[in-house]
Symmetry: C2
Subunit: 153 residues, 2 copies
C-alpha cells in the first residue's frame, strides 16, 4: 500500500459520480433551456449574461466585465464585437485611459431589458424549485467555485 498512482482498477469512479460532471452537464442543460427563449430576442446565453451585467450597471470596462463573469478578454472581445455589430452595445476607448474599452448599452440594448424580463421569469418557472432551495444550491456552488479559484492563484 502506498500513495503513488499504483492503484487498483476499481478506484476510478463512474463519470456520473463526479461532482465536476454534474456541474458540467447541468450547465449544458441550462444552456439548452435558455436557448429557444433567448433565440427570440436574438441573444446567445453568454451574450444574455453580458446584457444582465450591463443592465444592472452600464459603462463597465472589458476587464470589469471579465472579472464579474470570470471570462477572459480573448473570449469577450469577439463576443462584444458581435453584440456591437448587432446594435446592442457600443465599444469606445476611455479618453482618460486609452487602454480601456467602455461598454455602453444602445437604446435598442436598453429596450431589450423589458423583453428579457419574461425570459428570466420563465426560467424560474421551468426549473421547478423554490427560491430557498435555489439559494442554498447557489451558495454551495459559489463557495466551491471560489475555492477552486483560490487554489489556482
Amino acid at each position: 500500500m502506498n500513495t503513488t498512482s499504483e492503484q487498483t482498477a476499481a478506484e476510478m469512479p463512474d463519470v456520473s459520480e463526479l461532482l465536476c460532471f454534474s456541474i458540467y452537464s447541468a450547465g449544458h442543460a441550462f444552456n439548452q433551456l435558455y436557448r429557444p427563449m433567448l433565440d427570440e430576442i436574438g441573444l446567445t446565453y453568454p451574450q444574455y449574461l453580458v446584457m444582465v451585467a450591463l443592465w444592472s450597471r452600464d459603462g463597465r470596462t472589458v476587464k470589469e466585465l471579465g472579472e464579474l463573469l470570470f471570462l477572459d478578454s480573448s473570449t469577450l472581445t469577439p463576443l462584444l464585437k458581435r453584440m456591437e455589430a448587432g446594435g446592442l452595445i457600443t465599444r469606445t476607448r476611455n479618453l482618460q485611459d486609452e487602454r480601456q474599452v467602455l461598454l455602453h448599452l444602445t437604446a435598442e440594448g436598453t429596450a431589450l431589458k423589458q423583453r428579457a424580463a419574461s425570459v428570466t421569469g420563465c426560467i424560474g418557472d421551468a426549473i421547478g424549485i423554490d427560491a430557498d432551495t435555489a439559494l442554498k444550491i447557489r451558495t454551495a456552488i459559489d463557495a466551491l467555485r471560489d475555492s477552486i479559484h483560490k487554489r489556482r492563484r
Copy 2:
C-alpha cells in the same frame, strides 16, 4: 398591475444572483482546474470524461456515450476522431448493425487509467470539500438537470 412583460426596471436580478450563472461559472472553474493536470496526460476535459466512461465500460456505441454524457453526435464524432488519431481508442462499425460505431480502448488508452487516477485524486484534494457535502451538492444539481431535461421533452 398585470402579468405581462411590463415590469419595473428593478426586477432584473444581478448576474451573480442567477443560479444558472453559478453553475456556468463553476463549470469553467472546474475546467480550468483540470486543464493543467489533464494537459500532462494529453487529454482535454471532455475527452477525460469519455475516457472515464470507457474505463468503466468498454465497447460502448456513440449513442450510448452521448446519452451518458448528454452530448450530441455532432459533438462526439469529431472529439472521438481526435481521440482515435491520438491512439487512445478505436472506432469500428458494429457488424451486427452497421449504423452503430463501437468505441474500444487501445492498450495505450487502457494504460492511461493509472496515470489519470492521480488526477482524480488531486481534484478531490483541490476542491477542499468533504465527500458528504459533495454528494449533497451533486444530488441537488442532478435533480435540477433532470428536471430541466424533463421539461424540454
